[in-house]
């Protein structure tokens, strides 16, 4: 009776069909994985990165297939998603796109696999020292640099024909322009977030100071770090910054400059492409220079950004994941991303590379760009990258950054000595994971 019921009733039949289709689906995937395995790449959204992934998949000739899982846009959200999954031991992550400040954290927490042997040699070859430092923790390599980034000083040569060489010059120039009733603001990321920490870190490094010790284990906050606080205070309390300074992130800064609301803009190179898109008629006057120095004659050290690729320690296909990561950040891939997505390469050779995207055809700014046409500012970038500032390397960077941006906000209310004291004690707590982060 049970038999008859099972065969006859529709639910039974549906279950049978479902069961059968699940079995076949299982068989199909099983076949698939015999030919090549799937590597899950978790990386920030980048417009043309899928093409890089496709190229690497073609090179792998079926041994593996990289699937590009786009993370959220916000850096905090990206870090959180990966951290949460890795903390839970998720083995579905193979290659991780890490912001340059996360490598020590992922390494210390045991989420990123160390690079050794020939993988390590390949990942280190030809990489600029600054970006390479961001992929290293405790003298071991935990990631391969994918791209780097560095801020420049942007200005309009109709307002200021020559860029200021020092912060002093820039401030007095802004004050002069203000007196003349011209656009005068110094625009930068003053909101309470990582962007403010980037500016501060640049100032500290340019003044020859340190926030943390070399090993990242103790707080230093020396003379230079205090001098940086003085400059930040001076810039923001003399009426030469935008009224919404404390709400400005990268894009608000860019927009304010494009609206003609400033004389100087401190920002990443992405602003050039946006300017070219939105205000092509003014583009010839949109100029750039390396960051102004703190002390005359001592070149500025500018904070670098960018992404590194790590192999997850929970990955079930580590050898393939290392190989795939190396392909995704190879010279060819980095050049493609630089020309199509505007992300500055971490490989030194590409800054003197003159061959266009398709070497067989002549250079054309629109269809067949070369580093020279896509990066008119490449020399300034390269100059800044030769001796850059790296943000403090420590697993507790996230807490550090939250504390610094909190203590420095709003920058106009900094009291250099007292603020330095406060930073010293709050950062020490943060390093010991004792203190509360705001």
């Amino acid at each position: 009776m049970g038999n008859g019921k099972g065969r006859g009733s529709p639910p039974g039949r549906i279950a049978a069909v479902l069961g059968a289709s699940m079995m076949t689906a299982g068989l199909v995937t099983a076949c698939g994985s015999e030919q090549g395995l799937t590597l899950n790449l978790y990386y920030a959204p980048e417009d043309t990165f899928q093409t890089v992934v496709d190229n690497c998949n073609a090179k792998a000739a079926g041994r593996y297939n990289i699937v590009y899982n786009k993370l959220q846009r916000g850096a905090d959200d990206q870090r959180l998603q990966m951290a949460r999954r890795l903390a839970a031991g998720d083995d579905g992550l193979d290659i991780l796109g890490l912001d340059v400040t996360w490598v020590p954290e992922f390494a210390e927490a045991g989420w990123a696999q160390e690079w050794t042997g020939s993988n390590k040699a390949q990942a280190e070859a030809g990489v600029l020292p600054g970006p390479l430092a961001t992929a290293t923790w405790n003298d071991k390599l935990y990631a391969a640099t994918k791209n780097t980034n560095v801020q420049l000083l942007w200005y309009d040569d109709r307002i200021t024909p020559t860029p200021p060489a020092t912060w002093d010059e820039m401030i007095s120039e802004a004050e002069r322009l203000k007196a003349e009733g011209k656009p005068h603001n110094i625009l930068f990321t003053g909101a309470q977030y990582e962007g403010l920490v980037v500016i501060y870190n640049t100032l500290v490094a340019s003044a020859g100071g340190h926030i943390l010790s070399e090993d990242g284990k103790s707080v230093v906050m020396d003379e230079g770090a205090v001098q940086a606080l003085e400059i930040l205070k001076r810039v923001t309390s003399s009426g030469i910054t935008d009224p919404s300074l404390t709400n400005m992130k990268e894009d608000e800064t860019r927009q304010a400059f494009q609206r003609g609301n400033g004389a100087f803009e401190l920002n990443w190179p992405f602003v050039y492409a946006s300017y070219a898109d939105e205000q092509p008629q003014d583009l010839p006057h949109f100029k750039w220079s390396t960051y102004p120095a703190v002390d005359p004659g001592v070149p500025a050290k500018t904070t670098i950004g960018g992404y590194d690729l790590a192999v997850s320690s929970t990955s079930k296909h580590k050898p393939e994941a290392f190989e795939a990561a190396l392909c995704l950040r190879s010279e060819e891939s980095q050049k493609f991303s630089a020309l199509n997505d505007g992300v500055p390469p971490s490989l030194e050779a590409l800054y003197t590379d003159d061959t266009p995207l398709d070497p067989a055809k002549p250079v054309d700014a629109d269809d067949n760009p070369s580093m020279a046409t896509a990066y008119p500012m490449r020399e300034a970038i390269f100059a800044a990258l030769k001796d850059p500032a790296v943000r403090p390397l420590t697993p507790a960077y996230q807490s550090l950054s939250t504390v610094i941006s909190k203590v420095l906000s709003p920058p106009s209310e900094i009291d250099p000595q007292q603020t330095a004291e406060e930073l010293r004690s709050k950062l020490t707590d943060a390093l010991d994971s004792k203190g509360v982060i705001p």
């Binding site: 905090d76 959180l80 951290a83 949460r84 903390a87 954290e105 210390e108 927490a109 045991g110 909101a191 309470q192 977030y193 009224p243 919404s244 300074l245 404390t246 709400n247 697993p395 507790a396 996230q398 807490s399 939250t402 909190k406 906000s409 709003p410 707590d429 994971s433 004792k434 203190g435 509360v436 982060i437 705001p438």
Partner: protein, 315 residues
């Protein structure tokens, strides 16, 4: 006619007669009752009890996901760290201020709205539905529209009211905007709860009061409010507990800048963003305790009862 005594009196009287020896049948019945509700009770304990106990356990440890090797039992060190921290107390003060001010405004507005809706003769259902719309909109979505409205250049409110300044970058203006967003969202909810209370006021009472010469205000204060008291207290309890846990509006509007962080925001920053399970759990335990105290004050001191429970329903 105080409801405090009305509610608490039967509790004391029903508690005592339970003592005398039960008959065999009664005891079997009781055992069966326990058996029948055991599965539900076990699930409840597993789902709600376990996380609470676990977070208390975590709060007694140094446990940072970034330093897995350095996990250790530290007793109440995390509590000492949090309770002696200025950031925590700033956030606590902000949260309390937000709660008190927004709930007070909501009570007044909600009562007004409830009175209007109660007296509406035409299309009562439609009016009630329409006034509930803000409560139906996802908070984050509404918060984003407030955010853009108050951002200079893109926002109509900032352009009209704020001139050159950016209100979301200053302490008091951003607090005011957060309160505005909260009030806008939850006043309808308050009004709805109060309207249920208004329905309890018998028309005869109001008519009798009017006959005795009470004017509108006197009728409201002396007749309606005492009758509505249970409903008002329930509405206040719900909103106070909700408002104390405020997170989404602040997250979107200011991200906690300029000291506008609430305790929930700060817990999120420490627990989820900072991956510091020890300190983060400590904060969640502290929030749990505060919420429990608020509920205790409302229920024991003010005599708030759950909606629908009366002398007969309460055991």
């Amino acid at each position: 006619m105080s409801t405090v005594e009305d509610v608490s009196a039967p509790q004391q009287t029903t508690a005592k007669p339970g003592k005398p020896a039960l008959s065999e049948g009664k005891r079997a019945e009781r055992r069966l009752g326990w058996l029948l509700c055991a599965p539900a009770a076990i699930v409840m304990v597993a789902v709600t009890g376990y996380p609470i106990v676990y977070s208390i356990w975590l709060s007694l440890q140094r446990y940072d996901l970034r330093f897995p090797q350095q996990t250790e039992f530290v007793g109440f060190a995390n509590y000492a760290a949090v309770l002696s921290d200025s950031y925590w107390w700033t956030a606590f003060g902000t949260t309390v201020a937000l709660t008190v001010v927004s709930v007070a405004i909501e009570l007044v507005l909600g009562m007004t709205l409830a009175l209007i809706m109660h007296r509406t003769l035409l299309g009562r259902g439609l009016v009630r539905t329409v006034s509930l719309i803000p409560y139906g909109i996802v908070t984050v979505v509404a918060a984003f529209s407030w955010y853009y409205a108050w951002t200079p250049d893109t926002g109509y409110l900032a352009n009209i009211l704020a001139g050159d300044s950016a209100p979301l970058t200053q302490y008091l203006p951003s607090l005011a905007i957060i309160i505005l967003a909260e009030v806008w969202k939850t006043t309808p909810f308050m009004a709805l709860l109060l309207m249920a209370g208004l329905a309890l006021v018998p028309d005869d009472l109001l008519k009798a009061a009017a006959m005795d010469g009470a004017n509108g205000w006197q009728r409201f204060i002396k007749v309606m409010v005492p009758v509505m008291k249970p409903a008002i207290l329930v509405a206040l309890l719900f909103r106070t507990l909700d408002a104390f846990r405020i997170f989404d509006n602040i997250y979107v509007l200011t991200g906690g800048q300029n000291d506008t962080s609430s305790v929930s925001m700060q817990t999120y920053n420490n627990l989820i963003k900072g991956l510091n399970l020890g300190v983060g759990s400590t904060m969640s335990v502290l929030i749990f305790i505060t919420v429990a105290i608020i509920a205790f004050i409302f229920i024991k001191l003010f005599g708030t009862a759950a909606p629908g429970s009366d002398k007969e329903g309460k055991r």
